[in-house]
Point group: C2
Chain length 415, copies 2
Amino acid sequence: MSKHYKYICTNCGNKFVSELIESKKIYLCPDCGSSAKNTPLKGVLTIEYDYEQLKNTYSKKKFLSFAAGEIWNYPDLWPIDFNMIDKNDLEKLSLPSNQILRYNVDGRELYFQDETRNPTYSYKDRASILVALKAKERGINEIAAASTGNAGSSLAGICGRLGLTAHIFVPKNIPEAKRIQIQSYGANIYLVDGDYDQAFDLCLEISTKNNWYNRNTAYNPLTIEGKKSAAFDIYNNLKGKIPRVIFVPVGDGVILGGLHKGFVELKRLELIDYLPKLIAVQAEGSSAVVDFISSNKFDYKPAETIADSICAGAPRNLYMAANAVKESNSFGIKVSDNEILYAQKELAHKTSLLVEPSCASTFAAYQKVKDKFEKDEKIMLLMTGSGLKDFEALKTWNEKLCVKRSDEWKSLLIK
Amino acid sequence: MSKHYKYICTNCGNKFVSELIESKKIYLCPDCGSSAKNTPLKGVLTIEYDYEQLKNTYSKKKFLSFAAGEIWNYPDLWPIDFNMIDKNDLEKLSLPSNQILRYNVDGRELYFQDETRNPTYSYKDRASILVALKAKERGINEIAAASTGNAGSSLAGICGRLGLTAHIFVPKNIPEAKRIQIQSYGANIYLVDGDYDQAFDLCLEISTKNNWYNRNTAYNPLTIEGKKSAAFDIYNNLKGKIPRVIFVPVGDGVILGGLHKGFVELKRLELIDYLPKLIAVQAEGSSAVVDFISSNKFDYKPAETIADSICAGAPRNLYMAANAVKESNSFGIKVSDNEILYAQKELAHKTSLLVEPSCASTFAAYQKVKDKFEKDEKIMLLMTGSGLKDFEALKTWNEKLCVKRSDEWKSLLIK
């Protein structure tokens, strides 16, 4: 049976029949793919549809009639046979339909894509949802992933909603809060005596032995594919008038790569006529993607930053992420941990968006380069995770930077 | 100018012109109202509309055409002149349109109203939004509230979105996490050397002196009014087919009173033909409402429970809450802290809903009395706040009750 999509290698360009890839649980390119310690993945696969034909299926008017947050409204753009999925399962996976917030910040209108109210409070849900739907479609009951926190709690939460079993491999020294979130959803958690790289490798090995489906980020092409859905939701919520510029927090590069793929597809469907500039934002202590963009070289360095969600010494999706920046005629930018903490406070005070340090990095980056853009340029910041997921960071800037606290209520009585 | 609504006293039944009440910042009934330490409020005001006339405005078909989560779609049922409010401000206040989750739990279908993805992750936002809109309408810039946590962070977050200043009075020993949430949104926080009652009184005194608008719960009638909106959202999301039974976590009794008012209004508009039984759920250590329902007597006792959001020795909205239970032909039920913690774990594992202890109490109560109901009775549980707001509770049951954690990954390799 021929499906409506193929897999294509981002490295060698070879194409593969989807049933072959999926039935054999192949993840990287069968011809050139490889995964090695402390190294970006080679031969990452992505999914290609028949855009010429789909142009006729999805006119602008038709696409804009779909509710945002429900990918099953336009099934031809997803590698899932939705007829195999229970309708009630889909209901449990819908994202809020209204995720865009618009604020005037210091005299300039800014758009925020708010992913902090997704089922497990982060953008990672977009990837977990697609992986879990594929598992459901194929009758697979167990999914594994290596994680330093958010991807794991996301997979755990989404699996919990659908009655699937999640196996999460984490370095044993991840922050307690992240570990508790993963456990809370009832996932099996494996504390690995090593770093993320070792958890990644171990997860692959054990998944293969146990015939579990693997959701390692970038490794499973559906993680990238799932993350493209934000582009479609942004398109829908803005009635087709997409931003010119989007600041994206970058760790492994999967959100950046996926988001860009979404916009490229909208362009191939002739629903938009330009690609938004995707600005790659990284922390100074974890800047492999930004460095690669400028130097075209990758050298492994252990990463360290307060923004743990974007802490990645060897970004698995490096090449696709760098390409997204180049294709959208954009650039990368680094910010310091202090700038991130300050931005987190500024954002919360000016917009009431309580976000993780990773997303606050976009606001810090925006402050640095805003003068490069026209005053009326439509600029968006991607808010990828809730601040409540990382309480320690909230506490840090509150104790250090917050000056509005007052024990001096008595002075008010006298006034 | 005559408005489309009046204030009416829940105690003496007297009615008041709305402009008089609002322009003078009157909160309790001018004829019989009183607020005293460790005592439920007397003379709580509610709002009444011309339901006979509104029956013609809102047919079932028309009401069901409104998107849930946006109260401004049916302005005649709110005490706000929406023409005075900036459209962009309204956008920032919309709740997720799809809040109902349906799960098969142990062979029975259950409905969950999920308020954990509201702007500040709790049901309290419904009250804060209405109070903040009234402030905007009347050109008031500063709002004050006493709080033990959620109400304060909600008001802080909603004020932040609209550029209003929030003043939050809290007992100085509230959990650190709650304090940090309030501060994070940039509110002024006042640590009161005393308990919630003292914070409540001090907040009233200082609000009056400084001419701030006061959002103390139940005291400001708009807190009750705001909380009715969940009834309308439930009606919309279920296409008019509302539940027969709803389990409601009860502290001050404002959610219970407000929710009931919403259903009563739907009935007066002839949009529904029965009132759902609202089951009042309280913790054993904080059971003033449930005790009052059975004994018709109130005796102040200091309250203590792990479910801090429903910890209230003197529920401010006691009489209205008890009346809601009686009018809906229902009952109250108490659960222990251990039952709450266990229910929190069961809920997270069976539905992936990560909720505060207060809402887990409803699942504990449901387990106790489920056999009283027919198998196909439509039952809903109200999930009022995110579990991430109270990380300590998550941690407690994870460490005590969670058995799925495994450091023994090696055994899997051998399998």
